[in-house]
Symmetry: C2
Subunit: 414 residues, 2 copies
Amino acid sequence: MNQVMEQLTDKQRNEVKRQMALYSQGVQDIIPVEDLEAKVAKSILENRPLKIKLGLDPSAPDVHLGHTVVLNKLRQFQENGHIIQLIIGDFTGKIGDPTGKSVARKQLTTEEVEHNAKTYFEQFGKIVDMEKVELHYNSKWLSQLNFEDVINLAGKITVARLLERDDFDERISTGKPISLHEFFYPLMQGYDSVMLECDIELGGTDQHFNILMGRHYQEKFGKEKQVAMLMPLLEGLDGVEKMSKSKKNYIGIDEAPEEMYGKSMSIPDSLMIKYFELVTNFTPEELQRLKSDIASEEMHPRDAKMLLANTIVKMYHGKKAAEAAEKHFITVFQQGTMPEEIPVIKWNGVEEVSIIDLIVELELLTSKSEARRMIANRGVKINGEKVEDTNLVVQINEGLIVQVGKRKFVKIAK
Amino acid sequence: MNQVMEQLTDKQRNEVKRQMALYSQGVQDIIPVEDLEAKVAKSILENRPLKIKLGLDPSAPDVHLGHTVVLNKLRQFQENGHIIQLIIGDFTGKIGDPTGKSVARKQLTTEEVEHNAKTYFEQFGKIVDMEKVELHYNSKWLSQLNFEDVINLAGKITVARLLERDDFDERISTGKPISLHEFFYPLMQGYDSVMLECDIELGGTDQHFNILMGRHYQEKFGKEKQVAMLMPLLEGLDGVEKMSKSKKNYIGIDEAPEEMYGKSMSIPDSLMIKYFELVTNFTPEELQRLKSDIASEEMHPRDAKMLLANTIVKMYHGKKAAEAAEKHFITVFQQGTMPEEIPVIKWNGVEEVSIIDLIVELELLTSKSEARRMIANRGVKINGEKVEDTNLVVQINEGLIVQVGKRKFVKIAK
């Protein structure tokens, strides 16, 4: 490494430092950091872009802010001239689960895989320049392997090494079954890096083991080893669990501006800086200024959070939409009044209805138990008045306004 | 099962019993024995032969009596009209060891595999009728599997189940590495049984785990499950270790009649009945008679062992050779004289030589330490006189006779 740095001019050396500072921002772990520096230096010396890999599961194409943590990091590399390699793990998706036990891993058709990939790309296009991205489907090479190739791949790894992966280790020690085919997912991911000669692989910290498989297999196949770049997992709106669709603690990047703004405002204060760091396009300098402004109390945390919400909406819907969403938020929540425009729903039902049924009928919540809980938590209003009684019977009149939680309103038309 | 037996005539039912008694002779374990009875009954009812599988490793084609234990069992099935399926595991042989660590599992060429298979068959032909045997090379189907097929195969077994195999279990607990590809050998063996729809698989008790893989995979692929028939491992001439070429405690079926006879006579008395049971073609009745003759002292154990030696030589070299070998044995060992014909070796060495060097030079033993031990055990004679001193210096004269152990003689010519 030092050898490469020695061959650089001072200007080039500064450029290495600048890129290293940028790429290191918000990252949980770089394994090993010396290799990253060496690769960046070499790419500058030889004027050759680095190849930055991101593997994608083709079964779940709804992109939320949790996903954008790695996408924002990819964008930084792309903006500095490096090449993004997106790999759709369609080979696994097409196989499904041979034990037949996992519904989640049901077999996808070629059409489904392509449809899901397309959905991904439309959403990714909001963050990275998809025209400059290399797209790969790993079935291209994995489906070509025969039994002998697989044996060769398997011969380059030990069972003990695979059992080190946290979830395997845990299942072995608690007596839960591991199906042998599961051992192949990390192998495939590693082999993808061999085939594409990736310089860097990005992923969440939960990808630690799988990404190091890439280093392992590249070495076994006589290739230069990739660097593992692990991004922190983003906690969702609850501030505790990893953001995910199933946990309902997410902000989807396709959500409407007002919903996105409101949800962003509900992020716990303790996570605000982390969100700035991981899901916005703030530069290291802007981030530093913000931190010191908050620390010196020049900026009120509420204003900082509004800046965060505004920035997020702007990234996905543009400046105008961000301003409108902010205005809406101020009107409704900060001034305590209702928004100017409330969706109107035509009511064809009975004249008198229980508050529980009304909430479900209007699809403000999806179940009666949720409605009951929301009333108990004093989160339901009729014409601006809190509902206290879960057995309340509501007389339906023209223009009646039902509010659930902070941001859901419906006006009834008869 | 009982359903099938109920459909049989009394005569057929007796035939089932006769075959069961025959097949059970000398067997260590039948898993499960009910299935074997059901299969035999069904084969009689439907007049359909059973398929009896034996898998062969193509890398070690020298056949000794240890191998004949399963071959003799196969012959019993063949003589009752069932079909022997010999499977050459050439797929594994052609792959070699992908870790490159095992010299034993070096990659074999197609020519080597074919040559080894031919050597096997020539020797097998002395025990079973090779014209009626089905021959299979498992590369035929295994080389056709692609990655997806392999994943499907792997999806039908758990890691925990594989780790139950004694040698894997031991290596995990002592921290010795298991290369992932090793997990595939039992899978392949199991899949062979799926492809060939085997009814019974034969093997030594050390094949317990692998043969049960056949049952496992046949069930997973919706086939009728095979029966595992495990033969005891035959101890070698030392009476302790499993007979094997590397342990030098074996009787090869290609060995010369006199060597074979002499070696058979050196089997420990305690193993004599086991040898009759496992390596001769004695029927259950003949075996029973022999046992009671020995028990009632009507037959001297020495005569029983001579009968064993005679029987073994007869099986591989015919009646005449067996008689000659017996005569030779009686002349040399029982009457205490030397054989009529002693190999002559031309001596070009020095006039005086230490007894140790002489034994090694003449290739009567392969190392000086063996020579020293043999003298200490009073097993070396010069011109019929026991050598007592390991430092003895021998004057080399024309016609000098050196004897090592009971059966090795050399006459020196100058």
